[in-house]
Subunit: 417 residues, 2 copies
């Protein structure tokens, strides 16, 4: 697998930049004879984990690295797709008993204790002649956390939860981020909502006349398809459909993933004539969801035909709830989660972004910043009023990455953990 | 000299990131035995040149690296301060004839041909047993360009103008940038105007109520003092003085530079009562310039006292000219240049920035972007109206650098070369 900047998570690329060129070689599948510290091995395991991000949902991304008794790199692996072998199994695959004698297995998440779709990794590891297992994060389920470690200890293995003390770089946040969708789903029983937009330096997403082609460059736009591919669904507002008639599919070489889409369409503007839009040509009906205001949409479309559309699509319609006269974003999230959408990339337009932003109902922001100034235009924050700097919206653990002259800035909400 | 991110140009730091760790060691004054390609030596010379940026004006920043006959690093030097020895002399200083036998001298700008404040560098080099001189840029004066090279050729030296062919990284733009103020002054007989501001992700420089403390973090604010130190003067609008009462001096450890200041004060609001503001305590009167609208300021201050202030400060007052009813930024630039100000850092407020931005009268933008969203607020672009994406303002050759969680983005105007 050749890795460029638009088919692997930018955080994986950034992570490697802090490490040696040897680690970068190992990450890009060169087999070299090289000794790694536990921290380096864990960084490599995190990088490896990111490779699964398009296909493991609703499982977490997990990566694993195996070092021999002298600390030399032996193998790496990751959880590749939902239902497939876990990272540990993929890393161990093909190694001999001889190689594994006194080996050290480093894995980003605690090895699973129980048989699910695949056998228990902790039990598999317990039966090998390895000496030591280091894992990055405890199983997030407090009821089973430590169970995998316990199996290994009982089998006489050394077991360590990752401890960053003594290393230049603390990988704790990286461990959280590579599994962030899964962890958030698990901890809060909510959908992980990512906001994504392209903006000028002065924060504009389009000119006043709506023109926005193109603020960002082709590399940024290519990475946007990668972002779609690591979420269960892509959401846009009805106006975006009406004005731009987008396909909303994932257009990446060698990626054959059918993304789901969600249309924020309170008045049924799109729903009532969906066949007029091209997205229906590339998405199967069951993969298209609508957020609808039942009362308002029926008022605006007082026809039998609309009634029957609502009925026929009932399993794909999420009715909006109002709290104090406004749509309630928390309830939208609950209902998206109930529909099995574990992560949604909200792409626009500016008003849809702003709705979630203003209501603090988002987990991650991805913003592509082009080195241009547009002046007056559309913005994702024009309806947000702060009377004090204390109320500013902060992107935590923000990181940036260059796509040509454009910058991607991404960070997480401070409100969720 | 210990280099951190706030006492050396960020472009110097960025440049090194593209090269080997050995080059980074050499750049930070470690003496190691290491062979360099011409491109690496030139990159190191550019890095070196940046070290002079606070003290060489109106001269250019110039750096020099000397390699022995086997291509091994011997020495480096830079032009340190106006009137002091040139880069070549500082690099050669202390090297023996033996070391210089068949040596290769790499310098960012063509060695000077004629004696000025210091002896001709071309002649100095011609008398040494060196073999080869590579220079990055021709002397920008077309009348003397090539004269330095000619002296060297006549003395039997190999002389090369830098040719990026065959190297991964083309350093031509870096060579331009390290001497950009000098080159611009020379080519256009105009003052190099840099715009600098701090903004939120959504392009706001303050809340609607004016609150802006603090958008950016202490590291960014520290680097702002470095930016002041590489310009002849700092400009702000009168409202910034009235509202914030800033000192506007350079507050950096080990830097004892007296910056000049320019106050965009059309109505004489500040001038009429300047002693009330603290900037007068840290700047000598002759270092304070005012941009004044003669007619309007006299209309608003119809007193004898104001007349006499204008008279007494005449050499430090720049009267604003109007073209079609608006202040003419081109004429402001001409007059700043006539006053001997070769570079001005324009720091705000938003309206002052916007005046120069809107009128395309700027050469470089420095914007610190904090990973926060402010919503409604003051902006440097709110009065700019574009009806087509083609009219967007573009920052060319933009580069970014992290100061903690803040990003500095900087680029040059496409309009000036």
């Amino acid at each position: 697998m050749i890795l460029n900047s638009t088919n692997i998570d930018f955080r994986a690329k950034l992570l490697l930049e802090s490490f040696s060129s040897e680690l970068r070689l190992l990450a890009t599948d060169h087999q070299i004879d090289f000794s790694l510290t536990t921290n380096e091995a864990l960084a490599l395991a995190i990088f490896e984990a990111y490779r699964g991000s398009q296909r493991v949902a609703p499982n977490p991304c997990v990566g694993c690295v195996v070092l021999d008794q002298h600390g030399r790199f032996l193998a790496k692996g990751h959880h590749e797709f939902y239902g497939g072998p876990h990272a540990e199994v993929n890393a161990l695959n093909g190694l001999t008993e001889e190689q594994l004698k006194e080996a050290h297995v480093i894995v980003t998440l605690e090895p699973c204790a129980h048989q699910g779709k695949t056998p228990s990794c902790a039990k598999t590891l317990a039966n090998l002649p390895i000496k030591k297992v280091t894992y990055g994060l405890k199983d997030p389920n407090p009821l089973v956390a430590g169970a995998g470690a316990e199996i290994l200890k009982t089998a006489g293995k050394e077991v360590h939860l990752y401890n960053p003390a003594g290393y230049d770089l603390d990988l704790t946040q990286e461990l959280e981020e590579v599994a962030e969708i899964f962890l958030f789903n698990f901890r809060f029983k909510k959908t992980f909502l990512s906001l994504k937009w392209a903006q000028s330096l002065d924060g504009k997403t389009a000119l006043l006349n709506g023109e926005s082609k193109w603020i960002t460059n082709p590399l940024s736009r290519e990475y946007s398809h990668f972002l779609r591919s690591i979420h269960d669904a892509t959401m846009v507002g009805a106006n975006t459909i009406v004005e731009d008639n987008p396909l909303l599919n994932i257009r990446m070489e060698n990626v054959d993933k059918k993304s789901k889409i969600v249309i924020f369409d309170p008045y049924g503007k799109v729903l009532v004539k969906e066949k007029e839009f091209q997205f229906t040509e590339v998405h199967q009906s069951e993969n298209i969801y609508y957020l609808i205001d039942e009362l308002e949409s029926k008022r605006i479309n007082p026809t039998k035909q609309f009634e029957s559309i609502l009925e026929s699509k009932v399993s794909n319609i999420i009715f909006l709830d109002k709290t104090k006269g406004f749509y309630d974003p928390l309830k939208i999230n609950d209902k998206l989660f109930d529909k099995g959408l574990k992560s949604v990339l909200i792409e626009g337009g500016a008003k849809t972004i702003q709705f979630f932003l203003k209501n603090c109902e988002w987990q991650r922001i991805y913003t592509f910043i082009a080195p241009i100034i547009l002046g007056q235009g559309q913005s994702y924050s024009e309806a947000i009023v702060n009377h004090s700097m204390e109320n500013k919206i902060r992107l935590n653990y923000s990181k940036s990455f260059s796509f040509g002259a454009d910058l991607l800035l991404s960070g997480i909400s401070g409100n969720y953990n």
